[in-house]
């Protein structure tokens, strides 16, 4: 599908990326910033993993009955790696957020800046 000469998938990915970026920059709540970061990362994964698709292709499982063309296995493996990294980043960030909330009682960046 290419209504304006651009694939709809790319439009969706770019939109998701921008939404995530806006959340990350504009929101003052740390939890919402982290959610924005996750939305951005999801858009990158969607971009990479869809890039390996091929029209009418089978998944890259060379079992009986599968026939070429096959989707490229490399983006899928790389995204799997990326997801693990995102899980790690999210876990550390969340646990820092829990600490910040326990110490200061707020997650708003504006209020946190005024604390000693």
């Amino acid at each position: 599908m290419a209504p304006f000469g651009v694939d709809l998938d790319y439009v969706a990915v770019a939109a998701l990326f921008c939404i995530g970026l806006y959340m990350l920059v504009a929101k003052s709540n740390l939890l919402k910033k982290l959610l924005g970061l996750n939305v951005m990362e999801t858009s990158v994964f969607a971009f990479i993993v869809t890039s390996g698709m091929v029209e009418g292709g089978d998944p890259p499982l060379l079992v009986a009955g599968a026939q070429p063309p096959f989707a490229s296995p490399i983006p899928q493996a790389m995204v799997l790696t990326g997801i693990v990294v995102v899980v790690s980043v999210t876990a550390v960030a969340l646990s820092l957020i829990v600490q910040i909330y326990a110490h200061y009682g707020t997650l708003e960046v504006d209020e946190l800046k005024e604390r000693p």
């Binding site: 921008c18 970026l21 091929v54 693990v84 980043v89 646990s95």
Partner: protein, 230 residues
């Protein structure tokens, strides 16, 4: 603040819109990603790695170093979370939130099926979608769900305390062991033997890695959740 953020997003969106113009048509078979090394993996992956699931072949064999460091990354994340000082002591936190009997029943009903699905993903991963990471994610979800209904003490009993550090470090340790074995057999670190008489060894090495990733990943995800909950 909001205005600047909006301006930044507009600039980034414009940049992306220009960049997207130069990308290959989506789903096109002639896209560059299907040439070069990707084509070779599809063509010779089964012969070279012995795995029919090429995603698994790329993960464990062609890009094995990547995966090895990746399991170290998630292990390091757990270490970092555990190293942070705890906000409140475990003793004064409530033992468990009151659980509705419906939730309790549904989790108890579903738990064996989730476990079965995870095991199927793990051991059928070489011929169907699945593999160590997918099974690990499901095991992690299972630990989280059981932790919610069983409370902290019940969840802690799921993984024996003495075995817990070893299970959390299972994936990096197994990678080190398999890499050393590969070194001894082939002369290259994390090498998989190609000789036909060593095919059983090659499959055993891949299976050991998958199992370690699933168990280690699941335990780490569960531990992350329980640490943060405390």
């Amino acid at each position: 603040m909001k205005g600047w953020a909006l301006a930044l997003v507009v600039v980034v969106a414009a940049t992306l819109a220009i960049g997207v113009q130069g990308l290959p048509t989506h789903d096109a078979p002639e896209a560059p990603i299907h040439d070069h090394v990707g084509a070779r993996y599809v063509e010779r992956g089964v012969e070279e790695t012995g795995m029919r699931n090429l995603v698994g072949a790329v993960l464990l064999n062609y890009r094995g170093f990547d995966t090895m460091v990746e399991v170290v990354v998630i292990f390091t994340a757990l270490a970092a979370v555990l190293a942070l000082p705890r906000a409140g002591s475990v003793a004064d936190a409530p033992e468990a939130l009151p659980v509705s009997p419906v939730v309790l029943f549904v989790v108890r009903l579903l738990a064996p099926f989730i476990a079965l699905f995870a095991i199927a993903l793990l051991f059928r991963g070489h011929v169907s979608p699945g593999g160590g990471f997918q099974a690990g994610a499901l095991f992690g979800a299972l630990f989280v769900a059981l932790g919610l209904v069983l409370g902290r003490r019940g969840a802690a009993r799921l993984v024996p305390e003495r075995a817990r550090p070893w299970l959390q470090a299972a994936a990096p340790l197994t990678f080190a062991a398999v890499a050393a074995l590969g070194w001894a057999l082939t002369g290259s670190f994390l090498g998989f033997p190609q000789a036909p008489e060593l095919h059983a060894v090659r499959e055993a090495m891949a299976l050991a890695l998958e199992v370690a990733i699933a168990v280690g990943g699941g335990v780490i995800l569960g531990s992350l959740f329980q640490t943060m909950e405390a």
